[in-house]
Amino acid sequence: MTHRCLAAEGLAAGYERGRHVLDGASLTVPAGRRLALLGANGSGKTTLLRCLSGSLEPAAGAVLLDGARLQHTRRGLRAHRQEVQLVLQDPDDQLFSASVAQDVSFGPLNLGLGEDAVRERVAEALALLAVDGLAARPTHQLSYGERKRVAIAGAVAMRPCVLLLDEPTAGLDPSAVTEALAALARLQATGTTVVMSTHDVDLALRWADEIAVVVDRRVVQGRPAEVLGDDALLARARLDRPWALTVGARLRALGLLPAGALPRDAAELLASLPARPGVPT
Amino acid sequence: MTHRCLAAEGLAAGYERGRHVLDGASLTVPAGRRLALLGANGSGKTTLLRCLSGSLEPAAGAVLLDGARLQHTRRGLRAHRQEVQLVLQDPDDQLFSASVAQDVSFGPLNLGLGEDAVRERVAEALALLAVDGLAARPTHQLSYGERKRVAIAGAVAMRPCVLLLDEPTAGLDPSAVTEALAALARLQATGTTVVMSTHDVDLALRWADEIAVVVDRRVVQGRPAEVLGDDALLARARLDRPWALTVGARLRALGLLPAGALPRDAAELLASLPARPGVPT
């Protein structure tokens, strides 16, 4: 799994109340980086991810993998799907086999791999997502958080270069979010580029190297502090500014944080603040 | 709709892997206050709400409304449901009718009201939830956030004194959360006591007058700052401390916030902080 670069150029796709959901949307997924795709519900995040994964054929524009245009032919899709995998928001839409191991083996079996290779892939994917203990369990007995991770394992077993995740943390409690993020970090360590859609701006600030916001049928892309500090853009996108940026800016103005400091969460903020009163920074 | 006091005493309920999900759980819902029910996924929040609403009969313990014990008879349940309504997390579990107005009319009709009274209730509930514009729309064309609000309207049309909501903000984007909270505030103004389960500690701090945490099969209840500042409790409950409490405590220690200040979100924090450096508070 070497990093490959996935991009979208001038996409028009989806159709709702007489117009496209996306129109002229362009995006570059930098290889090996963590990209958070932000947007309000209904903004077109899912439509964009479905185009990138090849599930949805755009009405105009192109999806490019290492510069080569995705062809919506049987062969083109087959090649694309070995490199790019999408995990949908609702795990129940992806778990259709009786047991966890069977479900995860679905993709590798379809790749025509031998039994041993399939077993190896399944074991590897389950271990990466830290759900190896669930292999023999029936899928309908799992908790929501477990089902989400098993659904991701199903995509991971395809060994994609780029893994697209639609709202992977939605509905998870804090500890499940932490576990999911740890699993994604392990995936990245194996060389997978991870794209995550979310409407949680605090999470995006904490996690992402790069942010893309879906707004007004297009995509605005940039570095986290830049994009998430752009109040006009966030207002158009119906998103809030992450609290850490708001509070950080004031504390910088008060001279409590060094000029370049951009704490991304409470722990980083506390670490950058002086411990006792009167100690200048 | 006068405020009435709902309580649970020593509940044992639910059953998973050989033991009860709740065991010895007691809770008092103070009339007219906003209660947030916190807990990790699978901790038993939903089980507790189902007991309180009467849809699940506890194996032991009692549910009390104004001190009177809920009897799980046809008549007892009927009386209880006129006072206490539960809205489940997935709106599709409650929307059975294809048209919004028809769906909301279901409860009031079952109360045996006449057509005009039913229509009045439907209009009132839709207006309170700010979904009156959707009355004539088909359920299957609504967005997730709209479906959530229509499901709440269905319960509100029963004019309960206590409205129990299971994860009403889960899956909603920031602007939809704001709208949902505004709707709940309008409900409270009409005299309804609102209980909301969530695992979002930041939201709970911002919204609630009173917090109950489901932990180790029981419930710990108290004032927000108290409960959410108890790190040992939060760790047992697999929850995080709200960032505003963490950051607020440090800023108080630094002398930047007045001793008693407990900002609950970024806006309150900014308002309590000095605007320029060097200005003591």
């Binding site: 009786a98 029936p138 309908h140 | 059975f96």
Partner: protein
């Protein structure tokens, strides 16, 4: 193979509606009784109807090159029994007519006889028969769905033949014509539906 709106002469449309009525009324009685005793089962019956509709919207992997959909009523007969299917099948046909322009209102009776009465009963009988001679569940399902599908197709052909007898050879000749013309799509479809049924029930019994 739904008979399109307006395709049957008025007398035939009325005749088939009258023929379907007792079965549909019988099914409706069963449903009313069920719902009176267990009101919450309204939801299960509704789900069964929705499943039947959605099953018939599943595209079978191409057998003949054209896209083909199962009738869904054979599986419904095995799962929910023929009397209930007479009603649920008719409701599904009504929805197909009004949501998919598939079938029609004046041909609803004729289509109900083929899809909601003859198909389910024939399939169910075949299922019990296979069981009776010691066939297992999956062979029973296969036979039931193939028979239900073929019986539906046969009934539709008879209905068309009665409406449009051949100029020279009469109804018998017409039946041969219609059976022959639609065999190309319907026989592979029947086998496909049987296969899908086996796969479906296999997953269900493993669970």
């Amino acid at each position: 193979m739904h008979i399109a709106e307006g395709f049957l002469p008025p007398l035939h449309a009325v005749g088939w509606t009258v023929a379907a009525a007792p079965f549909v009324v019988h099914g409706a009685r069963a449903v009313v009784k069920e719902v009176r005793e267990h009101p919450e089962n309204t939801l299960l019956l509704g789900a069964a109807g929705a499943f039947t509709f959605v099953l018939s919207a599943i595209k079978l992997p191409s057998v003949t090159g054209s896209s083909s959909h199962p009738t869904g009523t054979g599986a419904g007969a095995v799962l929910f029994r023929p009397p209930v299917m007479a009603l649920l099948g008719t409701v599904v046909l009504l929805f197909q007519a009004l949501l998919l322009a598939h079938g029609g209102l004046t041909t609803l009776g004729a289509n109900a006889v083929a899809f909601a009465v003859v198909g389910p009963w024939a399939g169910y009988a075949a299922f019990r028969l296979t069981h009776g001679v010691g066939g297992g569940l999956l062979p029973g399902v296969f036979v039931a769905l193939v028979v239900a599908d073929l019986a539906t197709y046969l009934t539709t052909s008879v209905q068309l033949a009665l409406a449009f007898p051949d100029a020279g050879s009469g109804t018998a000749g017409a039946l041969a014509k219609f059976l022959g013309v639609f065999a190309v799509t319907q026989i592979p479809l029947a086998i496909g539906e049987g296969l899908l049924g086996v796969l479906l029930f296999r997953v269900l019994t493993v669970n």
